[in-house]
Symmetry: C2
């Protein structure tokens, strides 16, 4: 108990209405408010779940549910041997403290360089709280509808989605059939179910590709800028690779530059439908040039097609894969069109790669969990996925227009320039290059706004400053206030002589 002596009082929490029920929801709300009001400050310790349960005479399970929710939201954070605290993210000044336990409790065994590098990587992938402008948060009208839940209940209760033994490393057959139908129809991907491997999102497919496609010292083209999940894993590959960052312009990857830099590269990692993070599709000329180079060099193309379904004007571009199915590894995910915590995606592979890919996957995690695969198979086969995509496309289009309007209204042009594109779940607000976007993103996070800096997606030489804003079905007032707050933060980081009077 001694270590909890400093536990704070929870002033607003005694007003629980037990008759009304939903104790957990009431408590979550009360704690959120206490943090917002400043009754609870960043770094304040909370009572243990057991203590709080006793104090309030509610079950410990309720308190754990409450803490869990607030941990997920980033309001609270858990620290080893210390307990649960109000998140330090909310006040930057205290942040140095959060790493303490790792150091004070270090073992006598020295960590390998790889282990140290991975510990650094982790810091970059801290999940954002479910607040504007986090990407791919299934809130409001973008949540899967009731059918998803009902299918889950139905298929888990009996039949193929009920608890079972070890399953196919490639993924369940019915889901592969459903995905093959879907990508053939919607993405012009040329494939059969036997070429599809169900993965835990695109990240797992990228990881496995990085392990099976290359020999030590191979050269690999990567767009500049690119998704940090791609560059981080190539940079930290235990087998050393030469990562050749190839600049991107308004047509996409500059194939000529790539050929000048590394004509014999073994592969190119690209995002042809919707360049990440900038947002435009790859032009037809570049597609042709890229494929011609890849054919001549017998190089692989890894096509990351993470959110092509969400195009707001006209049809999505067909996938590169359809033009060279023997050389293109096509990667898709349900994180964007359904929800990220499902952890299901797929790789469409040239046939010779299916066994190597599944062979490593077996050693990594045996196979994906089975039940949700069956549920998703039925959801797709019966047409609900495409219906859901049509619905969320409209929602995102609407939110996109609103967000663009708010940015135009509140963020002066000399501070931020919006590149909206006509596709996807995010936009980039470019900043003046003297501004430190990571510092600004952190200041935003401290103010309760989930935003990402764009600079880590660039190589050092081509680094630009900007903010990645995700479109979610958040409350319009919440979005408006968030943009107003971002404007204030930007002004406070701008050079004094450039600030407009307002």
């Amino acid at each position: 108990m001694a270590r909890m002596a400093k536990v704070v009082e929870l002033p607003s929490i005694t007003k629980l209405n037990k008759i009304q029920g939903k104790i957990a929801a009431q408590l979550i709300q009360a704690l959120r408010q206490a943090v917002q009001n400043g009754d609870l400050q960043a770094g304040d310790p909370l009572p243990s779940s057991r203590e709080l349960a006793m104090t309030l005479s509610v079950s410990r399970g309720t308190i754990i549910e409450v803490y869990d929710q607030l941990l997920a939201e980033g309001v609270l954070e858990a620290r080893a041997r210390q307990g649960t605290f109000v998140s330090d993210n909310l006040a930057r000044s205290k942040r140095q403290q959060t790493q303490k336990w790792t150091n004070t409790h270090a073992t006598q065994i020295q960590l390998t360089p790889a282990a140290q590098a991975y510990a650094e990587v982790l810091k970059e992938f801290k999940p954002l709280p479910h607040l504007p402008f986090a990407v791919s948060v299934p809130v409001g009208r973008t949540q899967p509808n009731d059918i998803w839940r009902k299918f889950g209940n139905r298929y888990r209760a009996r039949g193929v989605a009920a608890p079972s033994g070890y399953d196919d490393p490639q993924g369940v057959f019915s889901l592969r059939v459903a995905i093959a139908d879907y990508v053939r129809r919607s993405r012009s991907v040329h494939c059969e179910a036997e070429q599809i491997v169900i993965t835990s999102g695109i990240q797992q497919a990228l990881y496995i590709c990085s392990q099976i496609l290359f020999k030590a010292q191979d050269q690999v083209w990567v767009e500049d800028p690119a998704y940090r999940g791609t560059t981080a894993l190539l940079e930290n590959s235990i087998q050393p690779l030469h990562i050749v960052r190839v600049p991107v312009d308004e047509e996409g990857i500059q194939v000529d530059t790539g050929i000048n830099l590394a004509p014999n590269a073994r592969a190119a990692f690209v995002t042809p439908s919707h360049q990440y993070p900038i947002g435009m599709p790859m032009s037809l000329a570049r597609r042709t040039a890229l494929l011609a180079w890849a054919k001549q060099q017998s190089a692989w193309i890894i096509e990351d097609d993470y959110d092509s379904e969400l195009r707001y004007s006209g049809q999505p571009f067909p996938a590169l894969q359809g033009l060279a199915p023997e050389q293109v590894i096509y990667l898709g995910t349900f994180s964007k069109v359904l929800f990220p915590s499902l952890r299901l995606g797929y790789a469409v592979l040239p046939k010779a790669l299916v066994s190597p890919f599944c062979g490593l996957r077996v050693l990594i995690d045996r196979h994906p969990p089975s039940a949700d695969q069956h549920v998703l198979a039925a959801f797709i086969q019966e047409g609900y996925l495409e219906r859901h995509i049509r619905r969320i496309r409209n929602v995102y289009a609407e939110n996109r227009r609103y967000l663009i309007g708010m940015i135009e209204r509140y963020i002066p042009k000399h501070l931020g320039y919006l590149q909206a594109g006509d596709q996807g779940m995010h936009m980039v607000l470019w900043l003046a290059d003297y501004m430190d976007d990571r510092e600004i993103a952190q200041a935003a996070l401290d103010a309760g706004i989930a935003i990402k800096a764009v600079s880590p997606t660039f190589s050092l030489e081509r680094k630009r400053s900007g903010l990645v804003l995700g479109l979610g079905d958040f409350d319009q007032d919440q979005i408006k206030i968030a943009i107003q707050t971002v404007a204030i933060i930007l002004k406070s980081h701008a050079k004094p002589n450039r600030i407009e009077r307002s």
Copy 2:
């Protein structure tokens, strides 16, 4: 359609009783029978789901469900560009054909040595059909009860297990709290929730350990014999390691031999509670010696505690971890006590390893799917896991006694010697060393019996012949017939002058 011209007639299938309903179940049964009767032969092609649906006037979804089930059972198999076939596993003579498409459709791009090696690995991890004596198949009374399903429905419907955004790479907090409570209580593991990482079974934890703990050319102790999931990944590590196989005797790993062979090894992979596959626990003397060596060398101990909960006489041994929490990486799984297709396990890590471990996990798959983590957290917290374990322990004990009786009755001692142990979900039937256990396991599979050879778990020098028999709640008659069939197969593989007259 041309490629389907040879599709077989399905004689027994036209008798569907559509009024009775459960069309899928009827079809599954009819197809299984057709295979058993010999109406359908190994290698016979089946109609496409679309065709069969039209022929029988049922929905295509029904046919896909049927094929899916029979694919999972190993009755059917899917081949690229060709369709669905009666499994070749059922007749060994045709087996060479199954690999054909991989070769005929090879791309012009040469595969790396790593890719080729992983393709070989895959062959060893083909899931067994859900038949006796597959390990860890949740059939009969070993299935999770209705509470599991109800919790799933309840927690998915609202609250924390509903669809959500990107989540904690370490796993959801409430599940880590529940597991910490559980392993402290039941396994004397010394830990807090902050040291626990939720993994996709033990395999993922082994994989991540193999990637973060070592530098190239490090020596690593591995038991001989050992779980093939451990040796396969160390042998195929892209970063080359020296795998030092340390023999196991009736007390467990021979620590002295290990010290003679490789005193400076960086780690030891061990199964102290229930040596895999032999089945005995590590003696106290060996535990002490192993820990003393590890402390002196600052070596890691990776403690794979895959099924310690199922001990039939007395209490399970406490985990090694409790004696040296700063050096032991403790691995547990729900594959054995709940079901494998859940794909949830956990690693209890020395604190310094939590960030490196999660850093690589983020690059591999971001985080485990969230919903089942919340369901499982509630299931454990409310006491249902321990109740379930008590129940299945009784079921497995009963089945174990029955299986031992059948083996004693039908398998002559000179052909097979049973090592039953008093723990776990499998037993080893040792064979005379001149017998090829892999050939026998294949013959058993051809006869509809799911059995594994023990020889791949040994190093070449110490190779022994035997069969791994899993305990499942299969029908007693099914078990009896399977043992009788195994006896016949063993006799047919025995040297003629040793066969008893019977």
